[in-house]
């Protein structure tokens, strides 16, 4: 009984993160929010939308808005390569949203101990969507706060 309990605790503590690279940094996205990862495809521009939205794509017959993590973070605009991917997030309130990333690296399991919650953003307002820094061996991975990155904050 107690063994089983311990096992559950261990499972709960480890979360899986998809590691993506944007610019020179690595970011982690909690896998439970990820619906899908798709290759770069034609994105239809939506005029007059918030600037960090690249537009909409057709995901298996559904129209899904796609935003640019680079634009949202105030980095230089995306350059689409063969490695570029769109991570499709599925959120309860906002529905499906895609995020363009430069590359998808791997999936890592991080426990709470591996994540440093004590992050003080030095980037000002634009850095607010990181809620921790994960340590995966030598690499540091900024963990996205999925909800705040999708929230419509007009600052980019």
């Amino acid at each position: 009984m107690s063994d089983k309990y311990n096992l559950e605790v261990v499972e709960e503590e480890k979360n899986q993160y998809i590691v993506v690279s944007i610019g020179s940094e690595q970011y982690g996205i909690d896998i439970s929010y990820v619906d899908n990862i798709v290759r770069m495809q034609k994105i239809t521009r939506v005029p007059k939308s918030l600037p960090y939205y690249r537009g909409v794509i057709n995901l298996r017959g559904e129209v899904v808005p796609v935003m640019s993590a680079r634009r949202k973070m105030g980095l230089e605009d995306d350059v689409f390569t063969k490695a570029s991917r769109i991570i499709i997030l599925k959120l309860e309130a906002q529905g499906m949203v895609g995020i363009v990333v430069d590359e998808v690296k791997e999936v890592v399991s991080l426990g709470q101990d591996d994540i440093d919650q004590n992050v003080h953003s030095t980037k000002g307002d634009n850095g607010n969507f990181i809620n921790g820094i994960g340590k995966n061996g030598e690499d540091l991975i900024s963990i996205f706060d999925v909800y705040s990155i999708v929230d419509a904050v007009e600052n980019a």
Binding site: T44, V46, K48, V56, N58, P65, Q94, G95, V97, V150
Partner: protein, 715 residues
Amino acid sequence: MDVSQYLEIFIDETAEHIQALSDGIMVLENEPEDKDTINEIFRAAHSLKGMAGTMGFKRMQHLTHDMENVFQEIRNDKVKINSDLIDILFDCLDAIEGYLDTVKQTSDEGTEDNEVLIKKLNEYLKKAEDGGSEAPVEEAKPVEEAKEETEETSEESDYTTMHLDEETKDAMKKAEDAGSLLYGFTVQINKECLLKAARAFLVFKAVEDFGEIVAYDPSVQDIEDEKFEFTFHIVVCTNEEPDLDAMKKAMGAVSEIDSVEGGKVSVADFHEKDAKEEKTAEEVKEEAAAPEVKEEAPAPAPAPSAAPAPAPTASKTPAAKPKTNKPVTSRTIRVDIEKLDSLMNQVSELIIAKNSLVAMSSSNGADTQSQSQSFHEEIEYLERITTNLHESVMKVRMVPIESTVNKFPRMIRDLSRKLGKPMELYMSGEDTELDRTVVDQIGDPLQHLLRNSADHGIESPELRKERGKPEEGSIFLSAYQEGNNVIIQVRDDGNGIDTENVKRKAVERGIVSEEEAENLTDKEIINFLFMPSFSMAKKITDISGRGVGLDVVKSNIEALGGDVEVKSVFGQGSTFTVRLPLTLAIIQALMVEVRDEKYAIALESIQNIENIPVSEIKYVQAKEVIHLRGTVIPLIRLDDLLDCPPKEDDPENIVVVIVKKGDSFAGIVVDNLIGQQEIVIKSMGKVIENNKLISGATILGDGEVALILDVNALF
């Protein structure tokens, strides 16, 4: 019996019957002698009662039963219809609707007994009886019903008040004549008992050692089906003098039996009792009605058969019936079987088409030329089927607006009485079909408009007379299809909109300055009415005039993809025109190109397409316009509007798509026309829908996403 599986059907059909009743009563009010209508109403009331009974909704059954009695009297010409009665009947309908709502939410009818209504109904019956010479047949019914209710509700009832039919009495009489002895028993089963029928059966079994059971109340069938509370009565017939205590003991020995009471009875007792029946019933009722009487100040004599005593009824909840409080939310749609048949046919054709494609892909021997030819044929075939299929499915979703507008005549009637202004609603085009989702949601806005017309539109009879209009105001609700739109008009011959008054209000509220107000057209002034919290009512009534009216109407209708327009002549009346798309999901659109982006413009808003030389563009107040066949049309450069990259070369001619919204026009300048296409409207997701220009997106044949322009936002 578990009836929960029928609950949805019950809800559907009850709503239909209520509507039928409501319609019928409306007709009856104007033509009280119309026998056909009376019969129709009677049938509807009867079915309603039957259904409620089957579902075990006793209170609902009771009310409908009494309504049915009244209709019966009307049918027999014993009761004359007057507006008082009509009012009561409508109140009854409301009460039944109340039951239905409760059933919808909790799968149970609730505990409202509506005694006041039942009492009123019975007063009418009583009057009829007093007036009519022979009423026993009709009278028996309510009394019987009441008696049943009494027995079910009151715990004190015992075997001496058993309810027996003539046949049983005859059998008992015979047995008595033959020298047998009759004993009556009342058996009380423990309230915790789960298998009442089984216990009852054991009791019967025990009694059969002593003699034969000649009478049951409730009937043996009902006992077996557990359709009784925790008491039942039996009459046992024996040949020799038995030991009464032994019999009681034998019955009491059955587990979960609380008490057995019994004694000698004779048929004469029952006959005697029957004679008293009415009186006792009346007494019981009198008691039941007494508290009511006090509340209802000037109450006339208590009705001969009234409601069951309130207290026991409320506490009486059949323990055997599991209480499911799950709301019945699933929505159903009734579909004409023909529509389903054609759907079925098309699906079979689809399968055939698929099969021939499969066959073609597996037969790879034939020469490629003929294969590609037949491949093309199959594709064309497939195309035709899918188009038809789409049409059929859309038709299945279409329902007549009847179901929504049906309740309006009743509403106007009530308003007319409430406001003391005679008025009549004339409806046409109730069979106009609209998408189910639209029909469901158009009810509220239309109701608002009608209330508005009734309250603000129609003048008082005196003023109407002064203006030379007929005293009775008229409100017209007409619906018809116009292209891809359905038009619903609410028109009244009332006061119309006093634009001067509206203008003054607008200035008062600081919406426009006085100078600006002078230059406003009537139309612009009327549009103020659609602004939030701009109520014109001089005083707030509970009908309209809270300032949350027209702006809500407008936003509701716009949410459905439609729009609303007003035309009004002061002193002559106003017309509200609601324009709705036939369906929400699929529209005919013109695909246009701006640079390398594709946009869809709903075909219904397009007036025509013009190819115009750049030299014909004129300037008015530094804005581009064209002068086309006598109309000056402002130009909108789509590329500028949508922040497209600038064009390299200036062409000699521009393509202008002329769109209209109501009476105004605009010319949209595009680079290229692609063609007409049927498009499926998709939502763009919540996070990005933050501009009014784009109303949605669609997926083109090649999988690309194209955006749909909302023309209404251009004006």
